[in-house]
């Protein structure tokens, strides 16, 4: 590795991708300065708990930190929180900052992630107690508004994972919760009809109202709370509204550096952008997945961390580093733990295996005979075995897999 002592690596975005990259850079031997900027003033924290344990935990609970504070000092990682990066001057290798200063870089990492998409609903900007769910501040605001509301009527706009998790958490706190979903089923963008049906039933059994084919058109204020109007003329009252209809990738900075964009910031297998001094990692990247041989943008902790490690190696001068991971993801709702491994997008047949315990099953997605992905519901064994099979491109006996009388062991299905 060439000496990096006099070089500066600047990282924009101090979340899952950026922070893991900083620590990985030290691990891989980067000797120069590491400076991370984030406009979020909060000390870098885990996002997944925001819609899960954090909402239901007792007031005043701290956010769970990505790394303890001492580690930043020990590894000499300079955290600059509460500062926005305004632009990149790629030819000069300089970024401009919201405090009026500039920072020079030798290597730059864009870990700018995404921001919540706020749909163009009339009145949404001026309505009170309408929140996205992305940052620690969002979660705190939701908690505060919820605690302050005399009636606990909550409307979730958007039945994706974040919306459903938030619904489950607030329900646990005693709210009256409805989910308004534009599509004809929840989780339409991310999972199969079978899984959507399972989660709809789960929420309904727990007293959450799941309302599909609902396009919200307008929010108007009431003396207490808001009135939410839908295109089918239905109306709902709500004290707290959480908007979870998806995200917009933060690409403004990438644009200012003239990087190639394609459904996100386009990166190579080593997370390099179209500019050799600039890397991009995490939710903001459009990248190639080796296993599935497809270009994809992923919103997950796994992708953020694995790309962070790959970029760190490449920045430290290691050659032939390749991002080659099988995606994984999880979601917690009520007493259900969903664990997903793989990408089911191209599946054309499905095996469902129900276990004896209630609400414990797994869905195995195949393209012809190739296992693509596994969704495991309260059944981590399937998640782990699925991971192993997918990695090894193992041929699986579908008939035996579906037969619950056959014990769940690796050798049973191969």
């Amino acid at each position: 590795m060439q000496a990096t002592t006099d070089q500066t690596c600047v990282i924009i975005g101090a979340s899952h991708a950026g922070i893991n990259c900083a620590f990985a850079l030290r691990k891989e031997g980067w000797e120069g300065a590491i400076i991370i900027y984030d406009k979020d003033p909060e000390f870098p924290y885990h996002r997944p708990p925001l819609s899960k344990a954090y909402l239901t935990s007792e007031a005043g609970t701290e956010h769970s930190l990505l790394f303890p504070k001492e580690n930043y000092t020990e590894d000499n990682i300079q955290l600059k929180l509460g500062i926005s990066v305004l632009s990149i001057h790629a030819e000069k290798q300089i970024i401009t900052l919201s405090d009026g200063s500039e920072q020079r870089y030798h290597k730059l990492v864009l870990a700018t992630g995404a921001r919540p998409f706020i749909p163009p609903i009339e009145g949404i900007v001026t309505a009170k107690n309408v929140f996205p769910m992305r940052t620690a501040t969002d979660a705190n605001n939701i908690r505060q508004a919820f605690n302050a509301a005399p009636k606990k009527r909550v409307l979730i706009i958007g039945g994706g994972y974040i919306g459903l998790e938030t619904a489950a958490s607030l329900k646990k706190l005693g709210a009256e919760v409805s989910v308004l979903e534009r599509e004809s089923r929840v989780l339409a963008r991310v999972t199969t009809p079978e899984m959507s049906a399972f989660f709809t039933k789960l929420h309904e059994e727990n007293g959450v109202n799941i309302l599909t084919d609902k396009t919200v058109t307008k929010i108007t204020p009431l003396s207490e709370g808001n009135l939410v109007h839908c295109s089918d003329n239905s109306q709902y009252q709500a004290d707290v509204i959480v908007v979870g209809v998806g995200i917009t990738v933060n690409t403004k900075l990438a644009q200012s550096a003239n990087l190639i964009l394609e459904n996100g910031i386009k990166v190579s297998a080593s997370c390099q952008t179209s500019n050799p001094y600039i890397y991009a990692i995490g939710d903001c990247t459009f990248h190639y997945n080796m296993h599935y041989q497809t270009n994809i943008r992923l919103e997950s902790v796994q992708n953020a961390i694995d790309q962070a490690k790959v970029a760190a190696k490449a920045i430290c001068g290691q050659t032939e580093v390749i991002y080659d991971s099988i995606p994984w993801f999880w979601s917690d709702q009520f007493d259900i733990k969903l664990q997903i491994v793989g990408l089911s997008t191209d599946y054309n047949n499905l095996v469902i295996r129900n276990e004896e315990t209630e609400n414990s099953f797994s869905m195995w997605y195949f393209k012809d005979d190739e296992l693509l992905a596994v969704d495991a519901v309260n059944f981590a064994k399937a998640y782990m075995l699925g991971t192993r099979f997918i990695k090894a491109k193992q041929k699986v006996d579908k008939i035996k897999l579906a037969d619950t009388s056959i014990p769940f062991k690796p050798n049973s299905f191969i």
């Binding site: 691990k27 885990h46 997944p48 708990p49 769970s64 990505l66 790394f67 303890p68 001492e70 580690n71 902790v301 796994q302 961390i305 994984w328 999880w330 917690d332 733990k337 664990q339 059944f379 981590a380 064994k381 998640y383 782990m384 075995l385 192993r388 690796p410």
Partner: protein, 102 residues
């Protein structure tokens, strides 16, 4: 304050001290090689797998149902496997020794 020792797969011995938190957090804080804690401690990544030194096994206790499901098909599982994110410093014996799984 408890003393907890991690032995990495390269046989580096890392002695740590703590009062609270999970053993995964403790390992990450002390840069114990082989413990990544990628999922943040929610039993979803198995990147925090350790083998409990046999003499401590009874005092530490076995894994929960979810945890043992995560471990069962791990290539390096042993009779003394645990996920360190599911072990709390406050609940394990002082002087505990753990070997990081490969």
């Amino acid at each position: 304050m408890k003393t907890i020792t991690f032995i990495t797969s390269e046989n580096d011995i890392i002695e740590t001290q703590a009062n609270s938190g999970s053993l995964m957090e403790l390992a990450v804080k002390n840069k114990v090689k082989g413990i990544d804690g990628d999922c943040g401690g929610v039993c979803s990544c198995a990147t925090c797998h350790v083998h409990v030194n046999q003499e401590f096994w009874n005092a530490v206790g076995g894994p929960s149902a979810l945890e043992s499901d995560m471990l069962e098909f791990d290539d390096n599982v042993s009779d003394y496997s645990r996920l360190s994110c599911q072990m709390q410093v406050s609940e394990v014996p002082d002087g505990l020794v753990l070997k990081v799984a490969k």
